[in-house]
Symmetry: C2
């Protein structure tokens, strides 16, 4: 928006205030919806960078999504852009591993991926929530085809070492029983007048109806073996056709086992804003996003460029780097401004001329350790034997989950699932293992959920993010305290340098954070370059 | 299974009993899982019809899925099969409507479908649950490509005329608040020792943890405006990037409004066994299933054959029919046996020589009235303006729901959504309207959810199942009482005639009912023909 249009049009806030006054809060809510707010996204469209001074040079450090997007929009606006990237590929943590790929980690362990043609695992980002509108927008713009990512699957498993004899139960069984017992508890308490002072009589009556309907209680208000419970959790003998079609009901699990299992996080997982449906994934692998972004700017991306120093003065920035494709030859790139998207664990080790507060901010943000495992099996036994099509099984073991492929459903031949997704302490444990040990542990744990694991296993690969030399961690883990103390210092433009990336956002560990951070950073840098800020 | 193998192998029940004795109930459960039971499906594989006497003639009445499958399997087994079908197409209620199609209903109203090329609506069956393994099996076998049907969408709407000023709210907002208040009520009651006699102290402690985690309660155990609630229901200003990335929390709705809305059925809808994820739909329209089945047996299907009498004696069956493609010329088809899949409202009007009990059964099952509306809009405003990708919005108005297309997400140009799905009284109302009135009413109701409705509307079509002359209703609605009194009489082989179809199953109104009923009917008929039963 130019200054001129800003002056003429009422601001969004002014307009909302007017509508609010006229229409009451419901009117305000509706207005917010129709104005694009309350939509779960902070993306308002591509940046307006009009009026860029031709010839102004911007160097972008890092060819992950934040860097590539900055390069794309800045060049489009008329800036002269150069991107320097440490890896021999663009995309950053947006990555897919396929048969033939090689992965070398700190410490020297090297894995060759042996997946069958067409198979892949996304060891970094692997799903896109519906409200990540910035990323979805650029996927459209750059021709990246998307397909549904199957997240919630009622027929997948919930596994708790402490309940059900250590056997997995179906998500539908656990969730139905959990909801049913919860509803029963309230319905009974209302009947017994225990909640009379908690709600108005009207609310009590409504709540009693609600519990019966939502919980699937029987005519007596109980969660018990019968039609109503089996129509949620599944039958023992399912409904069929013809002479033998009559179903038989399934036993509900004892309430004590449901509670012992402690699996409520698993069934509320899908209610989390970031995990809600509808989700998407790129057709053919997450790295098709990185490739799509690279297509736009590949001609201004210098790969194998290892940055060692980021200097600036009143005249410009000077980037010192080594050309790793040519024996590490020392190079210098000069520019008027710098957008730096280098992950903080790396950046904190570089010689960077920024203010003390920004330096402190760079050092203040720990990165998550995370390990993901892709396991290839000879066939989709989870589909063929167990009717699990996509989605996630949860376990309280270190692997934490098994996620089944959303694509290729019903196909024959080898397929890859996510055999473990470790975060926190489990990730440290797994990162400390050899790749072979990681696979072995994933199989050992996974076979508690799928007895077919050993028999059907073909090969696997793991990626320990803390051992990737170009990021040294999975993503930023801002504490509330660090956020208060350092966030503004991290994102503020420091003379001629601005930082961008998921770490410079409130959507940490998501690609959308990189997108929105990048758009905000270049918008502010553009204003600075125009002399406006 | 032949008699010989039956004698040698222990029956499934015998085997389960043995395992149960040895391993306890958990062992039994695991064994049931690995033996293919407790899987939510009653499909055990294609029927074994070996040993058919060559030359035995079977006439199949009706070319819906039950009839086509019977024809396919019986011919494969060696029987001589002829199918007679009233319509000028196969597939029965498996149908898709596309631009150029014409739909004429009882009373004469004719609709020409004006959808853009590639667009369609499935006015009959439109989704396939993961546990409908019979149907899924034959889709694979007959080369019918499937894709995910997006069922649950947290960003779709819940609309109640009695709450929220009659405005729609997002599913995530309603569900999160409903769960949050429910959890808060229990957490508080436990704190106040109101539930001390309802559970053991251990269970009380576990339940208190469970409610906090599952409900997303804040540190004080409350469901209230803040980070924990906004991370479920959505933020006011969403999380963003860079300098302006800080989110602001959303207000929770008052508990009284959540209860007034009475929308608990909408948020438990997806917990119903038949509605759980993962669901599928055929790529390009549901009728690709009917077409896939037809490809197998098209050469033995006689279309435009209006059956008037089904007679039988000890020697065989005689079907009298009129060839509607040739001026209604009277025809007779003789066979040894008959598989009759004609919907009961039609069958009850025909001259059929079966026993009194079967006749009573045929007359005893009412069919649901149902109306579905397909509305084409100029663009996917639900995606572009409201970030709704697939899934269902619910309303307490007659249209009951709006379902957004699962396929073609992010594409430009006109698209079709399900503008209403009436069952019961609302269906009678809508069936009584002209097609134009139905569309007008659907728009009037739909615009309470989507303000863009009128502006973006292009054209629409409705199918009132009670007005389809070849079925006179949507599907069978067995009461428990009717089931007890008549089901066995309906499905028992009556001398040389056996009935099949969703009405002859415990999976009424689903294609799987037709599949499993058909497999059971032909398996029994085969035994009869072999002289074994």
């Amino acid at each position: 928006m130019t200054d001129e249009t800003q002056r003429q049009a009422p601001t969004r806030r002014q307009m909302l205030t007017r509508i609010g006054v006229l229409a009451g809060s419901a009117g305000l809510y509706q207005a917010m919806t129709s104005l694009g707010h309350a939509m779960g996204t902070d993306f308002t469209g591509p940046p307006n960078l009009s009026g860029a001074k031709k010839g102004t040079r911007i160097v972008v450090l890092g060819a992950g999504l934040a860097g590539l997007l900055a390069a794309y929009e800045l060049r489009k606006a008329g800036y002269t852009v150069q991107v320097l990237e440490f890896q021999n590929r663009g995309g950053g943590r947006n990555i897919s591993l396929r048969g033939g790929d090689t992965l070398t980690e700190l410490g020297g362990a090297t894995q060759k991926v042996n997946f069958a043609p067409g198979n892949y695992i996304n060891p970094g980002p692997w799903r896109i929530p519906y409200h990540h509108q910035g990323l979805l927008h650029y996927c459209q713009q750059f021709g990246v085809a998307l397909e549904p990512f199957l997240q919630l699957n009622h027929n997948a498993y919930v596994h708790s070492s402490n309940a059900f004899d250590g056997k997995p139960v179906r998500y539908r069984e656990y969730a139905s029983d959990f909801f049913g017992y919860t509803a029963e508890l309230i319905a009974k308490s209302i009947d017994q007048h225990k909640l009379d002072d908690a709600m108005t009589p009207d609310e009590l009556a409504q709540m009693a109806s609600a519990m019966r309907a939502w919980g699937g209680l029987n005519a007596e208000g109980k969660w018990a073996k019968g039609a109503s419970s089996s129509l949620r959790r599944g039958f023992d003998k399912p409904q069929g056709g013809g002479m033998t079609g009559a179903p038989t009901y399934s036993d509900v699990f004892p309430r004590s086992e449901i509670l012992k299992a402690h699996a409520w996080n698993d069934i509320s997982f899908f209610e989390r804003l970031d995990m809600q449906t509808t989700m998407f994934q790129p057709v053919g692998g997450m790295d098709n996003i990185g490739k799509g972004f690279m297509r736009q700017v590949h001609d201004i991306v210098r790969l194998n460029a290892k940055v060692s120093a980021i200097h600036q003065n009143d005249q410009g920035v000077q980037i010192q780097w080594n050309d790793m494709a040519n024996g590490g030859a020392a190079q210098t790139t000069e520019a008027d401004y710098c957008v730096c998207t280098i992950p903080l664990p790396i950046l904190s080790q570089l010689d960077i001329q920024v203010s003390g507060p920004m330096k402190a901010a760079i050092a203040a943000v720990p990165y998550a350790s995370s390990v993901k495992l892709g396991l290839e099996f000879k066939r989709r036994f989870w589909e063929e034997d167990e009717q699990i099509y996509g989605g996630i099984s949860f376990t309280d073991q270190q692997i934490s989950q098994i996620s089944y492929p959303s694509a290729g459903t019903f196909t024959k031949g080898p397929a890859v699932l996510l055999g473990g997704y470790m975060f926190g302490p489990a990730a440290y444990d797994f990162a400390g293992m050899t790749p072979q040990e990681r696979i072995e542990n994933a199989l050992k744990q996974g076979q508690k959920i799928h007895a077919q694991y050993r028999k059907e296993f073909s090969n696997g690969v793991s990626l320990a993010w803390s051992r990737m030399p170009w990021t040294l961690g999975c993503c930023s883990m801002w504490s509330e305290q660090a956020r208060k103390a350092h966030y503004k210092d991290l994102v503020a433009i420091d003379n001629r340098i601005v930082l961008a990336g998921e770490h410079a956002s409130y959507i940490g560990c998501w690609q959308e954070g990189a997108i929105l951070s990048s758009l905000d950073a270049i918008s502010r840098l553009h204003k600075r370059a125009m002399g406006a800020a």
